[in-house]
């Protein structure tokens, strides 16, 4: 850029401003195996790996609303950019023909799953939890001691839960009166 005068520089910047506003990619096509860096101009968002309780940080690269690459976040003190094979495969979790996109419901005795709305599914779960809890709530044990517990519902957590999620679940389940609160990692 050494030989560019101020006038020419302005012309160049104006030119590239116009070009960038009509978004034409002027980069020369390279003869590499992959012709263009696929995360070039992609939108970067941070996320957390959903698999294990380590909770590695991710950068998700998206173009036109479609995920094109998922990598570890180098700024994270947890994984420092690294990912295990499960974490490294997250691209195919986002882009997968088998991905379930809406809640499915199979009524008792039914053989087929049917699509339902989130609203219906969540309120139905809440209704049934409340019905079971109310029906089987134990106020006092056989010796008359106040116990306030529910033995008819159990909760199983998973290793994918992080600290904060475990805390919230524990709070909710204890509030409902559950005593059978288990964790997949203990099985």
């Amino acid at each position: 850029m050494g030989g560019i005068s101020r006038r020419n520089f302005l012309k160049l910047s104006l030119g590239s401003l116009v070009l960038s506003s009509i978004s034409i990619d002027l980069t020369p096509v390279k003869s590499y195996a992959a012709t263009e860096l696929k995360i070039r101009n992609a939108k970067e968002s941070t996320s957390v790996c959903p698999y294990c309780s380590v909770g590695c940080s991710l950068i998700v690269y998206a173009k036109g609303g479609k995920v094109v690459q998922v990598e570890g976040d180098p700024d994270s003190p947890i994984n420092q950019g690294a990912l295990c094979p499960k974490g490294a495969s997250l691209l195919q979790m986002a882009n997968n023909p088998y991905r379930v996109m809406e809640p499915l419901y199979r009524a008792p005795g039914a053989t087929e799953w049917k699509k339902v709305s989130w609203e219906w599914a969540l309120s139905e779960i809440a209704k049934r939890v409340k019905a079971t809890r109310d029906k089987y709530f134990i106020l006092k044990d056989e010796k008359g001691r106040v116990v306030n517990r529910v033995e008819a519902i159990a909760h199983v957590g998973s290793a994918a839960l992080d600290n904060e999620e475990c805390y919230l679940l524990q709070k909710l389940m204890r509030a409902l009166g559950l005593v059978y609160i288990e964790h997949q990692a203990r099985i």
Binding site: T35, R40, Q69, V70, G72, A82, L83, C84, S89
Partner: protein, 242 residues
Amino acid sequence: MARKALLITPDLCIGCRGCQVACKSWNDLPAEKTKNNGTHENPPDLTGYTYNRIRFIEKVNEKGEVQWLFVSHRCLHCGEPACVEICPVKALKKDAETGIVYYDKNQCIGCQACQAACPFNIPRYDKNGKISKCHFCIDRVKAGLSPACVKTCPTGAIKYGNREEIIKEAKAEGYSVLYGETELGGLGVVYALKASPKEYNLAENPKKPENLIAMGQMLRTLIEKGVALSPSVLKDIGLIKG
């Protein structure tokens, strides 16, 4: 940009194969059918859609202990790449800056001479018969990023950097054997070992084919004469065996 290299330290590898998956993710390579071969090694070989994999080597040492060695299997990006020398259409290239051996599928005619010439039997072919192998993520390297396998490696078993510097570092860390430091003009993938390369099933004293230059000239002459080179033609002239 100085010559780049990967430093692979099998002693640090835990065999998680994050590198294999990260490679597939970055290069948008599909999964392939595999089979259980009685070990955890999977997939069983490099293919047109698997550019790197970890070899699982089970050995019993002198003390009678079982050793489980994890060794990266991929293109080693030779300093004097036989594949580039023999390729009659210059589809295989060596990057002048970084020393990376890469390729252009559009130029490849699928004659498979590169596989015949490769001292490590690395090049594979996709379903269209075009060359496929590790290209050192040259797109990432040129953009200032590390290759996908390096970035994902949780233990630092694959390191990336300027070749001279990472070799110096490996020596300072006490690795006595640096496989690839001098072999074939110095490999772009260097293995830091504490035992002989043989222990890790790495080819000792790899050599380019003796008639490489003559064969390359012959292939180019054939193309000039209008012969459509293919694996069967190369078999006829004895370049591909079997």
